[in-house]
């Protein structure tokens, strides 16, 4: 049996296990974002949005839908990998992979694919729900799919690194609570940064989530506050950096091997 064949089967095994895990607990993984986003659509889109009027040249509901889809994709991709990998560490079932001939990159790709699968699954659910509230146009399908996948990969890697260093369950909620959620809310999900004073526009440009939200919004509506090419380059660059760091951590056995 060639090493490549073993790695391919092992990769499929990890992905299947990850998908089976989040499907088994769908009440905790798929249902909550559907309910939360529906509430956003009703309260911000319908009730408040109808009084706001247009933003970026489109009605407010249409403006916030891409941001809310992107928000649900990145939080779920991150949450899936951080909770699943930490749970594997906590129960020591990570040792099942460590005693097997699975390469670190295979483990990483398997967990990241699991995170992307959940992120995309939630993204599809939220998109379908949004169709009840507004009509979604597709300005550029390639940009839409590309930015969703790259963002999900990047945040899955972030979740993986978080889980490697986490020593207790509280540790995997610190980054989402204190970093990802504030950056998402300040990342142009609900507003265009052109509404901000110049200084805060400049500060907002340092927020990576702004680029993801705006690139996805460009794919849907053709409206953006940023350079789409720059956004894609930045995503690929950070995926490369976090990916290399994650493999290095796995090879060292950080948080796993004594």
């Amino acid at each position: 049996m060639s090493p490549m064949r073993v790695q391919w089967v092992a990769f499929q095994t990890i992905v299947t296990k990850e998908i089976r895990r989040f499907m088994r607990i769908w009440q905790q993984t798929l249902l909550p974002p559907a309910i939360t986003m529906t509430l956003y659509f009703i309260i911000f889109g319908n009730l408040i949005g109808s009084r706001i009027g247009e933003m970026g040249g489109v009605d407010y509901m249409s403006y916030i839908v891409p941001g809310l889809i992107m928000m649900s994709v990145i939080t779920n991709a991150y949450g899936n990998v951080s909770s699943s990998f930490f749970s594997n560490k906590f129960q020591r079932s990570v040792e099942e992979m460590m005693v097997a001939p699975v390469y670190p990159i295979t483990i990483l790709l398997g967990f990241v694919a699991g995170g992307v699968a959940r992120g995309v699954a939630v993204g599809v659910i939220v998109t379908l729900l949004s169709l009840y509230f507004t009509d979604l146009n597709v300005h550029h399908a390639g940009v839409m799919v590309g930015v969703i996948l790259l963002s999900a990969i990047l945040f899955s890697l972030g979740g993986f690194i978080n889980a490697v260093f986490a020593t207790k369950f509280d540790d995997i909620s610190i980054i989402p609570t204190f970093v990802i959620t504030p950056l998402t809310y300040l990342g142009g999900v609900f507003y265009s940064i052109s509404l901000l004073p110049d200084f805060w526009q400049d500060v907002s440009m340092l927020n990576p989530i702004l680029y993801m939200v705006n690139t996805f919004r460009y794919g849907v509506l053709g409206v953006t506050d940023i350079n789409v090419f720059f956004a894609f380059s930045m995503l690929v660059f950070f995926i490369f950096i976090l990916g290399a760091y994650s493999i290095w951590l796995l090879r060292r056995g950080t948080g796993m091997r004594q």
Partner: protein
């Protein structure tokens, strides 16, 4: 011939400065049933952890079927099955899924993985529990699940780190039979256990480790021949008379109808019976005071400590 397991000058110093292994060397031949014995904290699990890739070595080398566990980890791990001391499976997964998933990590295609899982779960009496979440299993079932999981890729070498800890005697005996059968079919087995009668029953070669050093590494026969004395307990039909003594034997009377006799190498047990018959004492039953290997183990560890 390539050894199933070879360890050369293996050392491990943990981050807190504790020196768990002090350059141990040992070799286990293919087809052997080998015991690695030692008191708690002696270095057994550290040794097995390094071999299976769960612990980082500080120095030295370890080979499984000739493959370096660090330099050629892929082939070394494919040859190895590991049953750890602690339960380390996902408590929420079903029994069948745990075994099939492990097969996938070793590159087995789904059809082969499912066939192997079914065969092992049936052999280990877990087939009826295949759809049960692992957390719902009893302690003995969890131990058997870990054995099934470790064997699903049909490894050449199986490491069993205290596989029968906390298992009732009936189940332990059925597990012994399973392991003996496995060994007969050609799997090399390396066992650590605190039940020394288990090691005496199953193993052909034994290493005793204490404070990170190998105290003895030899065949069971050779090891047991080092015993210079053995104590037998005789249950008598009537009380032992006051001032009782057995001429050439050292005796103790722990209860009024019980006699403990220490027999030195070269002395005959028949002689004890003759002497008891002469003194009109009838023996109801006889047993060894402790397991032979246990006695030897205690002596060797005590010597090593001093």
């Amino acid at each position: 011939m390539v050894a199933a397991l070879a360890v050369e000058n293996l050392s491990k110093v943990y981050g807190n400065g504790f020196e768990a292994l002090k350059g141990i060397t040992l070799e286990v031949q293919k087809g052997d049933f080998f015991a690695l014995l030692g008191p708690n904290g002696a270095g057994k699990s550290t040794t097995l952890g390094i071999i299976s890739g769960l612990v980082q070595k500080t120095a030295g080398n370890a080979y499984v079927m000739g493959h370096d566990v660090n330099g050629d980890a892929f082939d070394a791990r494919r040859s190895l099955g590991v049953v750890p001391q602690e339960f380390n499976f996902n408590q929420f997964e079903k029994v069948y899924d745990i075994v099939v998933t492990q097969a996938g990590y070793f590159g087995l295609r789904p059809a082969e993985a499912k066939a192997n899982a079914e065969e092992l779960l049936k052999a280990l009496d877990l087939w009826d529990k295949r759809d049960t979440p692992s957390r719902m299993l009893s302690g003995g079932m969890k131990r058997r699940l870990m054995i099934a999981r470790a064997l699903v890729h049909k490894p050449d070498v199986l490491i069993l780190d205290e596989p029968t800890a906390g298992v009732d005697i009936e189940l332990r005996r059925s597990m012994w039979e399973f392991m003996e059968e496995l060994n007969r079919k050609g799997t090399t087995i390396i066992l650590t256990t605190h039940y020394l009668e288990e090691a005496e029953q199953l193993c052909r070669n034994i290493a005793i480790i204490n404070k990170g050093e190998i105290v003895q590494c030899t065949s069971k026969r050779e090891l047991l021949s080092q015993l210079t004395t053995e104590t037998f307990v005789f249950d008598l039909c009537e009380p032992v008379p006051e001032g009782f003594a057995l001429e050439e034997f050292e005796c103790a009377i722990p209860a009024e109808d019980t006699l403990e006799v220490t027999v030195e190498k070269g002395q005959s047990i028949n002689r004890i019976f003759s002497l008891l018959t002469e003194k009109n004492l009838e023996v109801r039953s006889m047993r060894t005071k402790s397991n032979r290997l246990e006695e030897l183990f205690v002596n060797l560890v005590r010597e090593s400590n001093s």
